[in-house]
């Protein structure tokens, strides 16, 4: 049993923000029909992957965000495809799309068009900067949004350049806001029978997650300056930061400095006032680091944790993959993919006692389920065959000639 079974999502989204959102719904049981371009499919399948390396021809990026979906390949510019979608729209609950603003309307597939067929539809548009305004037609890529939204300015050290995070944060925060709004709208629809239009964008999602930094900067009129040392946040005092050890790096979080001083055997630290921890945070950082550099990460993390202090390791991704706690949580899973083979992936991060999430399908190949999906929506074989012939609908064969 799954929390979202009986829910059908027509998913026009591509790249990351939309696909992660619909994957999260699929993980909890929703039927996700991924509508892709005939032949080449989702743009994310083709963008150069990490290390410029693929898994037996498949993009790791695409595999990461498209499990638990079926792929229906359509030529959205054709009149026939539009008719197919409008007919399907009468039988689906949710539409998700993240084209640039206006594209779905121009295709005759905007909210108004679909709501005319199905007034109970929940239609979620996601964009980089919102549907209107001076930046609405700008490219809405993750790195750009991390810079625009201020995230980069608070990360890294003063003497370095602004630092983007090594994950696609802006996209992912937007994904969560899609899930949040769609599920809230579905709960409302269950009570009232009414659908609605939802608009989510990466810019607002990024700002919402800087709620405390922005509240501070705007209300007190003070700007954040990145620390010159390994202090980890521009608003935080020492010792909060990253420290060098004899064999690598570690984190030391908020801690009472008298107790920290004891474990580190640093009497000078014990007498630091709260004001000095803020005013001279970079010097205090240097003082602590001189000490942490004399022994291994394991030594320090164990001693600090034993004293009830907050500290931890800094793992590489390979380290995490063998972390005992990750194993205990079942944090990683694997599935079989017809071309990529066995794919190792991160598992679903929430546990629901009655309706657990489940990985039921690998990421689909372009058009892999076109025939099956269209049959389930009542289109007859002959019509589907003719559409495939005409290139309106793509299936697996169509895909294999493309790559």
């Amino acid at each position: 049993m799954s929390a979202l079974d009986h829910l059908t999502v027509l998913d026009f989204s591509h790249l990351l923000a939309g696909p992660l959102a619909t994957q999260m719904m699929g993980d909890l049981g929703a039927d996700i029909i991924k509508v892709e371009r005939v032949g080449e499919g989702d743009l994310y399948r083709r963008l150069p992957p990490f290390f410029n390396t693929r898994i037996n021809g498949e993009s790791p990026h695409f595999l990461a965000w498209n499990r638990n979906k079926r792929s229906l390949a359509l030529d959205l510019k054709s009149a026939e495809a539009r008719k197919i979608i409008l007919e399907m729209a009468g039988k689906v609950d949710v539409v998700v799309e993240n084209f640039r603003p206006g594209v779905m309307e121009r295709l005759g597939l905007g909210y108004e068009h679909l709501a005319a067929v199905n007034p109970a539809i929940v239609y979620c548009s996601s964009s980089g900067y919102g549907a209107s305004g001076p930046m609405s037609s700008r490219p809405g890529q993750d790195l750009l949004l991390q810079g625009i939204s201020g995230f980069m300015s608070v990360t890294g050290s003063k003497d370095g350049r602004p630092t983007p995070l090594g994950i696609s944060l802006a996209d992912q925060l937007c994904s969560y806001h899609i899930v949040y709004a769609v599920l809230a709208a579905l709960i409302h629809r269950m009570k009232t029978g009414r659908g609605q239009r939802i608009e989510v964008d990466m810019l607002r999602a990024c700002l919402a997650h800087q709620g405390q930094e922005l509240l501070f900067a705007l209300t007190l009129g003070k700007s954040f300056e990145r620390p010159a040392s390994g202090i980890a946040h521009p608003g935080m005092p020492a010792p909060f930061g990253v420290y060098r050890t004899a064999d690598g790096w570690m984190t030391i979080s908020m801690n009472p400095v008298d107790r920290l001083a004891e474990v580190l055997d640093l009497p000078e630290l014990a007498s630091c006032s709260a004001q000095r921890l803020w005013d001279e945070r970079d010097q205090v950082h240097a003082l602590i680091e001189e000490k942490t550099a004399t022994a291994t990460t394991t030594h320090w993390v164990e001693s600090l944790l034993a004293a009830g202090l907050w500290a931890g390791e800094i793992n590489s991704l390979q380290d995490v993959a063998s972390l005992e706690q990750a194993e205990h949580l079942g944090a990683f899973a694997s599935y079989e993919h017809p071309t990529a083979g066995t794919v190792r992936t991160v598992n679903i991060p929430v546990d629901l006692s009655e309706t657990p999430g489940e990985i039921r399908r690998p990421a689909p190949r372009v058009g892999e389920h076109s025939r099956e999906v269209l049959a389930a929506f009542g289109f007859d074989d002959e019509a589907v065959g003719a559409w495939i012939e005409a290139g309106v609908v793509g299936d697996l064969e169509g895909h294999s000639t493309q790559t």
């Binding site: 290390f51 001076p134 608070v154 050290s157 709960i187 930094e213 946040h233 931890g312 590489s316």
Partner: protein, 401 residues
């Protein structure tokens, strides 16, 4: 106007960031969030701030940021009388949220089974650092520690520098979003089946889920990320993806873009020999330096205008205050304010989603400790004599503006 979660009542035992951000998102959509705080001192986050400065001289910006749209009741959870009161309240509640360390709340008689016994429809959501059992169960579950453990810190910044954590409570915030995801899915299922359930989320698993594309690459290709020694923006990416300097000491971000278009706009045909994917990856630091030498010849505005006209994916890099003044941010009405009895006029970020029928709204500022205790207990049917006795015993405190 309607709100999507009107009629949903939440007993919120959570504190610090993860739980409060989650319940604030539910409150923004209309849920009635009853924040249960420690009598007297309240949520620990009230004592935390940046720069050792306070809003209105006394209020924590961190607390104000994640606790609007809630009412506060301040209770002594160790008192038997209070336990009986909360169990009475639970009969008409829909959701319980908590993020104490594993086992702490259950020991006080507020575990899932305790609530389920009085209300089988209840949805009980626990957030923790590392899950509720396992080798790390007793470790501190603070945000930066988990960013480090999950791999994001090691994956950020330059190869010749220390690892870099995010300048935001990222692990906590993602944990919050997972709470929202789990709770709303469970509410949806309960509407259909009438059944409640227990939800567990933890910061470590949540952080890993956000690194899925990095993990799918590393685990399946057997190669770990090595951070670039230049301003390339991600250890798995090839040039030109990164942050570039401009003539006026500004920065411009350039994402995946056709390299030929880029060097043409930069009037730098000498970069042509680098234009194949293999080279753009293997010589990314060298390419970065060469492109950076070209971007430095242009002012930020001029460079952006040229690149955007050629449909290169690029943007400004703004600091927090400039981001708030951004014309697009203003256009979307994303910065708003509320009046707080002690903090005064507090500027805050508005809810991030727009819903045509059931818009999110800010109805209340963050509460004072126990500010609404009397009102809440009266609504749940307790008499004024009972309420007064509770206060007299010190089992409930009320801070009125």
């Amino acid at each position: 106007m309607n709100q999507a979660l009107e009629g949903v009542r939440i007993l919120d035992f959570s504190h610090l960031l993860q739980g409060p951000f989650a319940t604030q998102m539910l409150g923004d959509m209309g849920a009635d969030v009853v924040k249960i705080e420690r009598a007297g001192s309240g949520d620990m986050f009230r004592g935390m701030t940046f720069f050792a400065k306070w809003v209105g001289g006394s209020e924590s910006p961190n607390f104000l940021a994640w606790n609007r749209n809630k009412r506060s009741i301040a209770l002594n959870l160790k008192s038997r009388k209070v336990h009986a009161i909360i169990m009475e309240m639970a009969k008409s509640a829909d959701v319980v949220v908590q993020n104490f360390r594993p086992g702490v709340l259950a020991k006080l008689g507020y575990g899932y089974d305790d609530f389920k016994a009085v209300n089988p429809r209840i949805i009980y959501c626990s957030g923790s650092g590392y899950g509720e059992e396992g080798p790390y169960v007793d470790r501190p579950g603070q945000d930066m520690l988990i960013q480090g453990l999950a791999g994001v810190v090691a994956n950020t910044g330059r190869g010749d520098q220390a690892p870099v954590p995010a300048g935001a409570g990222l692990a906590d915030q993602i944990g919050a979003m997972n709470m929202v995801y789990g709770i709303l899915s469970a509410l949806y299922w309960r509407e259909r089946t009438g059944k409640g359930q227990k939800i567990e989320v933890n910061l470590l698993a949540g952080m890993l889920a956000h690194l899925n594309q990095e993990y799918v690459a590393v685990l399946n290709l057997g190669e770990d990320f090595v951070r670039p020694n230049s301003g390339i923006g991600h250890p798995g990416m090839q040039a030109p993806f990164g942050i570039y300097e401009t003539a006026d000491k500004g920065y411009v971000s350039i994402a995946m873009s056709p390299f030929k278009t880029l060097y043409t706009v930069l009037e730098a045909p000498q970069l042509a020999p680098y234009d194949d994917l293999e080279t753009l990856f293997s010589k990314r630091d060298e390419v970065f330096d060469k492109v950076n030498a070209e971007t430095k010849r242009f002012g930020t505005e001029d460079l952006l205008a040229r690149l955007l006209a050629a449909d290169i994916w690029c943007a400004e890099v703004k600091d927090i205050r400039r981001a708030a003044e951004d014309p697009q941010v203003t256009h979307m009405g994303m910065i708003t304010s509320y009046d707080h009895p002690r903090g005064g006029n507090v500027k805050v970020v508005a809810p991030a989603v727009r819903m045509s029928e059931t818009p999110a709204r800010i109805e209340r500022p963050a509460p004072l400790v126990g500010q609404h205790g009397r009102e809440i207990l009266a609504e749940f049917g307790f008499s004024s004599a009972e309420i007064a006795a509770l206060e007299a015993d010190g089992d409930m405190t009320v801070d009125e503006a």
